[in-house]
């Protein structure tokens, strides 16, 4: 059984998705989906444990040995990402039933769980597979289900947001496919490890450079790297809030994973960082993303938009870490992927609670909530502090590593800019805090009660994780550092 864990990681949610149709009753379906997601979570924990103990696992699908058969290859990097995805998915699902009762019509609720599980399957598939074409297949599974999930939003603008995402996402996926196709044409293989071996021989060709460019642009679209982020804010704002909580914490991480995997393990750093001035490009776009998106976030009226733009800015931090092209920088990026999942998970889950009671996420509707929903607002405060990077939260750990990586490289100015960027977060977070705690409720507005336990429990699970992993950093730092080292070690 344990041998088959790599494939079970993907198969469990994949099989569970259509099985939901048999159950039909939303409540049952919910429990079933929760079970499937928890199983996936347990599997990813076991996998991570195995990888940390024994090293990379290679699993041959159907017994066909690679490079002919499809290989699933688990190393520290993807075990780590899979853990983030399945963990967040499970915690978010805890609140799903309560939340969608108000946001999704009853006849579509089963559909919601099916799509959710498919999306989870897609993400886990992208992460675990060792086959380049498989990546595209799973990318499409996760994207198509994501478009439909977003379109389930109550607000009619959700349809437009979903359509926008569909167009941009399809362009991105197509670019990725073109990249993979060109690589296949030059090397005749789709297996990642095999590709890595054969690419250096043809690295000088223009075709491979083109493949790389297509791939990078496609991934950056998915990653919502500034300035390719236009689909993201509306998609996050108008999707059902539970969907936003799930995606905000996970989907950009998957794209970031692809970027790392292809750059480091497949193309190899000696190629990746010489074919294009990718360090400079990413550094500039990352920094622009941090400052522009954070500034835009300050002026938003809808909190979902605030946090969505904040996500674009946080992607900027990850990319800045990437652009340092040192193990320390990559460690910072990986850490931030983990930590950002926790922050945004917590914040968007708190918004789920607010949507449940207030039914709106406009910033003016938050007035007086500090008294009416103390636990939810406290969660937003802690999550916000984490976003700012106050000590004892995960945000501090990310920032610490990123700044140290910049200083170690001798880029003091970058260290200063990164810290300045986090000050913008102070402004948009504090605007929310002040509204909730100091403004009296709008006249005539019914006072609301604190959110139900079903939502509060996952909210506070994530908030506690923000604090716990901000204090006990052994797990996250150790995995991120050793994954980063091995990624650099492979090629050096």
């Amino acid at each position: 059984m344990l041998v088959h864990l790599p494939i079970l990681q993907v198969i469990v949610p994949l099989i569970a998705a259509p099985a939901c149709l048999i159950l039909r009753r939303p409540k049952l379906v919910w429990l079933f989906a929760l079970l499937a997601s928890s199983l996936a979570f347990i599997i990813s924990m076991l996998l991570l444990q195995q990888v940390m103990a024994t090293g990379t696992i290679s699993y041959e699908l159907g017994g066909w040995s690679p490079p002919w058969g499809i290989e699933y290859r688990i190393d520290k990097l993807n075990a780590f990402i899979a853990l983030i995805i399945s963990g967040i998915s499970t915690v978010v699902l805890l609140a799903a039933q309560t939340s969608i009762e108000k946001e999704i019509p009853k006849d579509k609720q089963t559909l919601f769980y099916i799509l959710y599980l498919l999306s989870l399957t897609g993400m886990l598939g992208i992460v675990t597979t060792g086959d380049a074409f498989n990546v595209f297949v799973f990318l499409e599974i996760s994207s198509l289900s994501a478009y439909s999930l977003i379109a389930l939003g109550k607000d009619r603008r959700a349809l437009w947001a979903s359509f926008q995402y569909l167009i941009m996402g399809t362009i991105g996926a197509t670019f990725i496919l073109i990249g993979i196709g060109l690589m296949y044409q030059m090397t005749g293989t789709l297996n990642m490890a095999d590709l890595a071996e054969r690419l250096p021989a043809v690295a000088e060709t223009r075709t491979i450079t083109t493949a790389y460019v297509f791939f990078i642009v496609g991934v950056c679209l998915k990653l919502a790297l500034f300035p390719l982020h236009f689909w993201l804010p509306n998609a996050y704002a108008y999707a059902p809030s539970i969907v936003t909580a799930f995606f905000a914490a996970t989907s950009t991480k998957v794209a970031a994973y692809l970027l790392i995997r292809f750059t480091f393990s497949i193309f190899g750093i000696s190629f990746s960082f010489t074919a294009l001035p990718i360090e400079t490009m990413f550094l500039v776009m990352g920094l622009l993303g941090i400052f522009i998106a954070s500034t835009v976030a300050i002026y938003q009226d809808n909190i979902k938009h605030v946090f969505a733009y904040s996500s674009v800015a946080q992607v900027g931090y990850m990319i800045v870490g990437f652009s340092l092209s040192t193990p320390a920088g990559l460690t910072a990026m990986l850490l931030h992927m983990f930590n950002h999942a926790l922050m945004k998970g917590a914040l968007f889950m708190a918004l789920v609670a607010i949507m449940y009671r207030v039914g709106s996420s406009k910033i003016t509707d938050l007035q007086g909530l500090g008294r009416q929903m103390p636990l939810t607002m406290a969660a937003i405060v802690v999550g916000g502090l984490s976003l700012i990077g106050v000590p004892l939260t995960v945000g501090f750990v990310s920032k610490w590593y990123l700044v140290v990586a910049a200083i170690e490289k001798g880029w003091w100015w970058l260290a200063g800019l990164v810290l300045l960027g986090s000050l913008l977060a102070v402004i948009y977070v504090w605007r929310i805090v002040e509204t909730a705690y100091f403004k009296a409720p709008v006249l005539g507005q019914q006072p609301v009660k604190e959110a139900p336990m079903a939502i509060l429990v996952p909210v506070w699970l994530l908030v506690s994780a923000n604090v716990y992993f901000g204090i006990d950093t052994r797990l996250s730092v150790e995995i991120a550092a050793s994954a980063a080292k091995s990624l650099f070690g492979v090629v050096q």
Binding site: P391, L392, V404, I407, L419, F438, D472, R474, V477
Partner: protein, 496 residues
């Protein structure tokens, strides 16, 4: 003794934070709730005194909590400078609690439970800062202090309070993240350690230009030290209730700032290195300018609390100067001034609060003749003013003496002139207040009202701190011993 000193050390930090549970639980019974605060502060004070005795007898006290990042842990130890700070803060906390009970009730403030909770957390933060064994620990508690005092500043919930809170948090968080954290990270990369070490942590061959840059980042980043141009938060914080202004914004928070400056100067840079850095001299002049400008602005303030706030900014400049003089006299004078100014300024604020509660007056120009109605308060105000100015029989005399000695020894003539000039300015903005109160005639006709002092609890607090000011003049020896042992490598101190 039942408890080891290490346990007591942790108790000082944790107990105030834990006590919030008791305060919230007993929120419906005012008297019991206040008992929690008083008992907690008594226990903390006793613990600090025991730790002091332990330090005197040469014990090394250190606690290691947990490792946050590889090579970086939250840990605490006791050294003389932190001891001074902890002693003052814990003692004055007890007094302020007594005062606050009288004030908050006399003034019918809302949200008293939240008030006492945040107050307790802030003190926990102060203790953490005082006993921090490395910069990371110090930074963590520094931020705890910032965040826990924010609700106290915005206590009134009015627009003015909100605006004040925004400036407060804005400046303190901005400087601490953009400069202080930056400087800490730079130190970490260059020195490879953040532990406070006698003689400094930097390797000898480190680039002095870079270190000079770090020093600038430290001095600006420690916004709580209120060096101009990052001083605006302190007047903004005056919207808080008076006990907050008294303890936190005359003692705990601002002293945490200058304490950190002192600690960084002595135990991260080391005074030998500090004296050769290219930026030390300009920063010294900046601190000097801060002292003078703040005094001038203070003279023009009619609002009593605002005048005291600017006076605080000036006095904080003294301590920063003491640190940057990079001489043993400077360090001694600066650290003694932490204590002297604390007693003097808290008394002044207590008096300002008493005047507000008893006579409902907030402006200097309204105080004519008040000495007849509040003789006790105004007498205390007079003595405390002497303490700030630095003339006998008040403790401030000693610290200013050593600061002057320090600037003489290092031949900092400009600084010497600034210090003397500033003392004159202190006279000009502080003494007119008791003079008005005692010598001028009250303009309105209600002078026949007779004596009407603030609630007894307030008066007790004022009495104790005033006695403290005089006692520090008569018996400065224990304080001097602590201050002079800061620089001695052989001394007790560091846990390593």
């Amino acid at each position: 003794m039942i408890f080891s000193l290490d346990t007591l050390l942790q108790l000082c930090i944790l107990l105030p934070i834990v006590s919030t549970i008791g305060i919230v639980a007993l929120r419906h019974n005012q008297n019991l709730r206040e008992m929690v605060s008083i008992v907690t502060s008594l226990i903390v004070l006793c613990s600090v005194v025991f730790i002091y005795l332990g330090l005197q007898s040469g014990e090394s006290i250190s606690v290691h909590w947990l490792q946050i990042l590889p090579g970086l842990s939250v840990s605490f130890s006791v050294e003389p400078l932190g001891m001074i700070f902890a002693l003052i803060a814990s003692f004055l906390w007890l007094i302020t609690i007594i005062y606050a009970i009288g004030y908050m009730r006399g003034h019918n403030e809302d949200h008293q439970t939240r008030f006492f909770c945040c107050f307790a957390v802030a003190i926990g933060g102060v203790m953490g800062v005082a006993f921090a064994d490395n910069l990371l620990t110090l930074f963590i508690f520094y931020e705890v202090l910032t965040l826990s005092t924010y609700p106290l500043v915005t206590h009134a919930g009015t627009d003015a309070a909100k605006r004040g809170g925004r400036v407060y948090l804005g400046i303190l968080l901005t400087t601490s993240i953009a400069f202080f954290l930056f400087a800490i990270l730079g130190t970490w990369v260059i020195a490879g350690t953040l532990d406070f070490t006698q003689g400094g942590v930097f390797p000898e061959d480190a680039n002095t230009t870079l270190l000079g840059f770090l020093l600038v980042l430290f001095v600006f980043g420690i916004g709580k030290a209120a060096i101009m141009p990052f001083h605006r938060w302190l007047p903004a914080a005056m919207v808080a209730p008076t006990p907050v202004s008294a303890l936190l914004h005359a003692v705990a928070v601002v002293k945490a700032g200058v304490f950190t400056v002192m600690k960084v100067s002595v135990l991260i840079f080391g005074i030998d290195l500090l004296s050769i850095l290219p930026t030390t001299q300009p920063l010294l002049y900046l601190a000097g300018a801060s002292v003078l400008l703040a005094s001038f602005i203070a003279m023009r303030q009619d609002n009593l609390k605002a005048r005291l706030a600017y006076s605080t900014i000036g006095q904080l400049g003294y301590i920063t100067i003491g640190a940057l003089l990079a001489s043993s006299m400077g360090v001694i004078g600066g650290s003694m001034h932490i204590a002297m100014h604390a007693f003097g300024k808290i008394t002044l604020f207590f008096c300002a609060g008493a005047i507000l509660v008893a006579a409902h007056k907030t402006k200097v120009s309204q105080l004519d003749g008040l000495g007849r109605r509040m003789p006790f308060t105004m007498a205390a105000f007079f003595i405390a003013s002497l303490g700030i100015i630095g003339i006998p029989p008040a403790g401030g005399t000693w610290s200013k003496w050593y600061l002057l000695m320090g600037s003489l020894n290092t031949e900092q003539w400009t600084i010497l002139v600034i210090l003397i000039l500033s003392s004159l300015l202190n006279i000009a903005y502080l003494l007119p207040i008791p003079i008005r109160a005692f010598l001028f005639k009250e303009s309105t006709a209600n002078s026949a009202l007779g004596i009407k002092e603030a609630p007894l609890a307030c008066l007790i607090a004022i009495g104790i701190t005033t006695v403290g000011i005089i006692a520090l003049f008569m018996y400065p020896a224990p304080l001097y011993d602590l201050a002079s042992s800061i620089l001695q490598t052989s001394s007790i101190a560091h846990g390593q």
